[in-house]
Amino acid sequence: MRQYIIRRILISVLVLLGVSFLIYGMLRIMPSDFVDQLTAGNPKITSEQKEALKEAYGLNTGILEGYVNWLGDALHGDFGTSFTYRKPVTEVLFSSKLWVSFTLSAIAFVIELIIAIPLGIIAARKQYSKTDYAIVFCALAGLSLPSFFFAAVLRRVFSIGLGWLPLSGMVTAKQNFTGLAHIADMGMHFILPIVVFVILGVGSWLRYVRTNMLEVLNADYVRTARAKGLSEHKVIYKHAFRNTLIPIVTFIGGSIPGLFSGAIITESIFSIDGIGKAAIDAVHTNDIPFLMAYMMFLAVLTILGTLISDVLYAVVDPRVRYN
């Protein structure tokens, strides 16, 4: 077990090296004086910053040497200075923005699970029934929804049309709420983004639960359980569902790092001050150091996700280890 985990971690490090080289390489295939070009129209950037940037990316050296230098700095947590925020990139990344993004996605994640698991089980139990078709249809529809369009519809209906919910932002302007009122105000602003997250994300969970449940329901031990006369309730929840939990738990574990990644589109539409919005702002200001660090951060999250789910799989299901 320990050996397996160590091997997985070593491979992950290797993959991360590859990713970082690719990301760095992309920067280097730009025209040689790209720093000047990018910063030409940006009055915020001083010539010192330009020099620092060129040095940070080793633009005056060969590509391999530059990469090694950049990597050395990156390992020390130095990803350069953000143009927009005038602070080290890592400081911008690991600020309150990260927690805003995480809070939003975490709440949505819990709601998704609460909806998807029971509905997935129902759909699997009644395969090919009208309920099943309806659930599968809704799951697919949610998966196919373009987030920006759905967000626009929600804003048009609930903010402009009915006036129930705020249009965008995180707090009501000019109303300096404190304490509970502040939290309630933020909650009102978070409702629509969370609805977008849930509707778009619940579909994949639904399908996942349904498929795994179907597979288990066809297993021999479920037939045995039925044959020995257990109640349907016991068969489903004691025998079938517990076995479905194996893939579900690993999937949940693997998704947790992703909660930190921020949502570029939803956050920017609702002007929520998370890291997704920071990324799109970085595009408008050509804030390359931030974008690079953000991409590396997301890559690390993805790797962490697969690592966690693989390890969890081996922990939860002893059968996996032997083959």
Binding site: E215, I265, I288
Partner: protein, 334 residues
């Protein structure tokens, strides 16, 4: 006695004649058409393709044809077809956010172009874009995944690490970076679309490769594959006669799903302003109009139709993919 025998034989022959024998392919088609959602999806796609291909031929307006209105006479005219009317500068203005009428079925947008015509072109661009990207992705993914699965060993190890690397690169942030790079390179908006296709295909092959590799590994263990090997056929025949045809179902299902998801990604990028841009119409850029709060509030005709269209296309591809998967192998995992 002989008579009875001949009657029996006759019956046997008739019985055999009445038996309908389906090839596996026919079985797949039969199962596919039994799935109502899949038929619905197919219907939607056919309708959209007709709309996108034939529509522009019938439509009297052009993709980026700008309409003007003469305020004194109230006359609406095209800037490209009747340029002489533009001379009345004092009274002529761009016909923006025009109302829906018989000439402009969905009104005109904020640039004075016909929304309905742009919708046709938008669908066309989106469909073509995603088909090209899917082809690039499939070519790369099938080749690399096939090699990894077939040869195994070190080659497999290297390709699979590559797959993991590409899998980890977040796509939308990558495109954000790429778009700032394209600005630095000075790539023209008209050429940007081709670059986008290539980059998108290049960064999305990892899923296909992983899938194809897994499939090839399973097929290699099959009895018929060992029989083929024992028969001593050439590598080329083994790959093209046995491996690829048997991996095809998975590939087709994946391709149909990806067709939908690439349309979604493309429109997302266009919405963010890093995808297809003028002069091309794209569903994403059309929906982008909602960023102006006036349009979001009062001009539903400008952004609801492209949104619905986008949803329908993606949904249809998902239905087809789901239907195909069930049709190819009812037991195949979702």
């Amino acid at each position: 006695m002989a008579e009875i025998q001949s009657i029996n034989e006759q019956e046997v022959i008739e019985h055999e004649k009445s038996q309908v024998v389906y090839t596996p392919g026919q079985l797949v088609i039969k199962r596919f058409f039994r799935n109502k959602l899949a038929i619905l999806g197919l219907g939607i796609i056919i309708a959209v393709v007709l709309f996108a291909v034939i529509g522009p031929m019938i439509s009297p307006h052009g993709e980026s044809e700008i309409f003007y209105k003469n305020d004194s006479t109230g006359e609406i005219f095209s800037g490209t077809k009747e340029p002489e009317k533009l001379k009345d500068i004092a009274n002529v203005g761009v016909y923006v956010k025009g109302e829906m009428d018989s000439q402009f079925w969905l009104g005109t947008d904020a640039n004075g172009m016909d929304t309905f015509t742009r919708l046709m072109y938008g669908c066309r661009i989106s469909l073509m874009f995603s088909i090209v990207v899917t082809i690039i992705e499939m070519l790369l993914g099938i080749t690399l995944g096939g090699i990894a699965g077939y040869y195994g060993g070190k080659v497999d190890m290297i390709i699979m690490r590559l797959v993991e690397i590409f899998y980890c690169i977040p796509f939308v942030p990558l495109m954000l970076l790429v778009s700032t790079m394209m600005v630095a390179f000075g790539i023209l908006p008209e050429q940007k679309i081709y670059w986008l296709m290539m980059i998108m295909g290049f960064f999305n092959w990892s899923g296909v490769a992983r899938m194809v590799r897994g499939q090839v590994l399973t097929i290699r263990e099959m009895d018929y594959m060992q029989a083929a090997e024992a028969g001593g056929i050439s590598v080329r025949r083994k790959i093209f006669k046995h491996l690829i045809p048997n991996a095809m179902p998975v590939i087709i299902v994946m391709a149909s799903m990806d067709l939908g998801s690439f349309i979604l990604t493309e429109s997302t990028l266009s919405y963010l302003g890093v995808g297809i841009s003028t002069p091309f119409a794209s569903l994403g850029t059309m929906i982008q109009a909602v960023n102006q709060s006036v349009i979001l509030k009062n001009y539903l005709n400008l952004w609801i139709p492209p949104g619905i269209m986008l949803l329908l296309i993606v949904l249809a591809f998902n239905f087809i993919g789901d239907g195909l998967r069930d049709a190819f192998d009812p037991k195949m995992k979702r």
